[in-house]
């Protein structure tokens, strides 16, 4: 399947950052990938139907279409999403962050739904993430066991039926869980009521990841947090090999 995706032999994989009306972490993602880590990056306007030879697609955070109806519900019908869907189906690498994760759920590239935080409050703070699966192409170069990353969302309460949850656990698809700084996973460290403290999941094939926390906001050393870098590095290296 991977052969159908254009492979780059250059040392700089290209990250395509989709821009929806209401995206607000698109520039953060672009800046982190291009200016901080040094890969290639390009913005992709949601009305375009061209992924511009991107090796990876980032669906960034924000409030696409004002979060009207349901988060991600309208963005998933943007013209570019048909291309992103086909790209992912053929094995292309896609990472959805925050609103991007919500869009991946709505379009069905990842299972489950996102509902309002249990507290009904918008949660904006640093949280700790236990990396549950380091053998994915998104996480295999992460050195730490626990990552410190910001969350900023009102609808981050992941929910799915029991059967899907069983499968997610069985196939190691739960990649990140909210935890204490020491890695304890329980309700005290759950910022939004998410089922089983789920913060990020991957599809069965391993090429689509969705996560509510913002790794792109934890890349610039001058801002004091760099735990997000390992995710983008893992992705890039997996494309080069």
């Amino acid at each position: 399947m991977m052969d159908e995706i254009k492979s780059h032999n250059s040392a700089k994989p290209k990250f395509g950052v989709v821009v929806f009306p209401g995206s607000n972490c698109d520039h953060d993602a672009y800046f982190a990938v291009k200016k901080i880590i040094g890969y290639d990056a390009e913005f992709l306007w949601h009305k375009e139907k061209d992924l511009k030879n991107s090796d990876v697609i980032i669906l960034p955070g924000g409030f696409s279409y004002g979060d009207y109806l349901r988060t991600g519900a309208i963005a998933r019908f943007s013209p570019i999403m048909e291309k992103v869907y086909n790209f992912a189906e053929k094995g292309g690498v896609v990472i959805g962050i925050c609103n991007g994760f919500q869009i991946l759920l709505e379009i069905g590239l990842l299972p489950g739904v996102m509902i309002q935080n249990e507290s009904l409050k918008f949660v904006c703070k640093d949280v700790f993430l236990k990396v549950e699966n380091k053998s994915t192409r998104f996480t295999n170069l992460i050195e730490k066991e626990i990552l410190k990353t910001p969350v900023a969302h009102g609808d981050g309460n992941y929910f799915t039926d029991e059967e899907t949850l069983r499968d997610l656990e069985k196939y190691n698809q739960i990649v990140f869980r909210y935890s204490s700084p020491e890695g304890i996973v329980n309700n005290d460290y759950n910022p939004n009521g998410s089922l089983k403290n789920i913060a990020g999941i991957i599809n069965r094939k391993g090429n689509v990841l969705g996560m509510m926390p913002h790794p792109e906001r934890a890349c610039d050393p001058t801002l004091g947090k760099t735990d997000g870098v390992g995710i983008f590095k893992s992705i890039a290296e997996s494309l080069l090999n």
Partner: protein, 83 residues
């Protein structure tokens, strides 16, 4: 022309944090008999056709594809002919 009204309800098994919070307000007001508050969506629009079957088909598809998320919501609709 038809006027459509669609009601989207969250499935009973899916949490409804908003309904829960509103019910706390009900308790504060002294409505102690109020139970199981659930919040859904009411949507109305017009379908510009005289063909009732076509109108029904569009309402159903619009509701299935966009207005509701079949993983967590059910919908019901009504169609009314208008001039």
């Amino acid at each position: 022309m038809y006027k459509a009204t669609v009601i989207v309800k969250r499935r009973p098994k899916i949490l409804d944090p908003q309904g829960k919070a509103v019910e706390q307000g009900a308790k504060l007001l002294g409505f102690n008999n109020v139970k199981k508050t659930r919040i859904g969506k009411y949507i109305e629009f017009f379908v510009d056709t005289n063909d009732k079957n076509l109108a029904e088909k569009e309402v159903r598809e619009y509701s299935e594809k966009l207005l509701s998320n079949p993983i967590m919501e059910d919908f019901e609709y009504q169609l009314e002919e208008v001039k």
